[in-house]
């Protein structure tokens, strides 16, 4: 009992955990927003090229970006962005974290969108074309709305993945949830409660969000 007291109450350590939780959520949501923005951009570039063979260079750059991000560990990406790219800047470390995880997430989100677009029945495109609609109109009014709906569960997964992946942000000195558990453990010389408690918080978050997304999906398909 005293161990639990030392972990949470003594020295108001619960505040440390709450602060870590706050940072985890800020970085995750910020990164997801950036990730979706980048994902949309990459998808536009890829589709423009596939549709009319324009902007070949941009297309190759987009593919290169996706390959590099998916082929390297997120922690390494974070370190490169922090220690090399933002080496001598005084931008807040949280912002750097958001940018790094956002750039990482963008590659995965673009893959999610690409898969979503490919999953739309190709008869939809043909029906649009046979009605005389332009490629862009078919994309905007027919393909993308359906692709987005198809992509929603995978986007939800990406959200959950990001929550967990941001746990490596402590490595560059961001005090997010995992790091705050670690700090408390190093002060109490006891790892059990701090680590189990942070793990439980992650679990509640991820399970809660998964459940919420399921509910949203169901409500959506009834509409």
């Amino acid at each position: 009992m005293t161990e639990l007291y030392k972990t949470l109450i003594y020295d108001q350590r619960y505040l440390l955990i709450l602060n870590g939780l706050k940072n985890t959520i800020i970085i995750t949501i910020g990164a997801l927003i950036i990730g979706i923005a980048i994902g949309i951009l990459i998808t536009i570039v890829q589709n423009n090229y596939k549709a009319n063979k324009k902007n070949k260079l941009l297309y190759y750059l987009a593919n290169l970006y996706v390959k590099i991000i998916r082929g390297t560990p997120v922690l390494l990406q974070l370190m490169i962005i922090y220690y090399i790219i933002f080496k001598s800047s005084d931008i807040s470390i949280i912002i750097i974290g958001i940018i790094a995880f956002g750039i990482n997430s963008g590659a995965y989100v673009s893959e999610i969108f690409r898969t979503g677009i490919e999953a739309v029945d190709k008869g939809q495109m043909e029906a649009g074309r046979s009605l005389g609609l332009k490629y862009r109109q078919i994309m905007n009014y027919i393909i993308l709305p359906q692709a987005f709906k198809i992509s929603l569960p995978a986007l939800g997964n990406e959200f959950v993945t990001l929550i967990k992946e941001t746990s490596v942000a402590g490595y560059i000195g961001i005090i997010e949830l995992t790091k705050s558990g670690d700090i408390i453990a190093s002060r109490t010389y006891n790892y059990f409660f701090p680590l189990i408690i942070t793990a439980l918080i992650y679990l509640v978050l991820t399970l809660g969000i998964t459940k919420l997304l399921k509910k949203l999906e169901k409500g959506d398909s009834n509409a």
Binding site: D121, G123, Q124, E126, A127, G128, R129, S130, L131, G132, L133, K134, Q137, Y141, I142, P145, Q146, K149
Partner: protein, 239 residues
Amino acid sequence: MLEIKNLVKHFDKVKALEDINLTVQKGEKIVIIGPSGCGKSTLLRCINLLETPTSGIIKYRDVETKKYKRDVLCQKIGMIFQNYNLFNHLTIIKNITLAPIKLKIMTKEEAYKKAMKMLKLMKLEDKAGNYPRELSGGEKQRVAIIRSLILSPEIILLDEPTGALDPENIKDVLEILKDIAKDGMTMIVVTHEMNFAREFADRVEFMDKGMIVEEGTSKAIFDHPKNERLKEFLNKIKS
């Protein structure tokens, strides 16, 4: 109205169409029959610019189809698919009005009014707010027909329009096709409904292995077939 000369379409090694020649007059009803895989769909898709021919010429009103802007040509040549291809995420009324509104042929009000009128004619007015998944196959195909007709096409291509329907629905859709035909529409129909073909067609085209191997009136094709493969095909379909 439509003139096809020496049309060839290859997909890599598959020779889907070999030297197709076909002329269609205004108001004519052409029925295309033939075994599966003989190139019927590919022919319609080439006319509708969904496929680019390997070689040959397709002319609509004496101008090559590839010289038209797609949106102009596709308003004039409508297409109906076997599996309807309604837009799944849009209500019936929106399915029908999307193209006329986006192509700026009608205002939103005009399009809705015309769509409702056409839905009423097909006794579908109470489905206007429903989604495609809430309709039966026959209803979906009727909506697809309206969606195409609202653009006032001059030719309609139909690729096995009843191929995915049960007998009850087949009858409904075929009746509608006959109604449309009465109004003088030029129609090219791919179908396996031989009774319908016989009654409906001004001219029947029998295709095999990418070629039109026999053509003639329904009487000539069904009662006095000459080509061996056509005889074989008709026998198979009867049994």
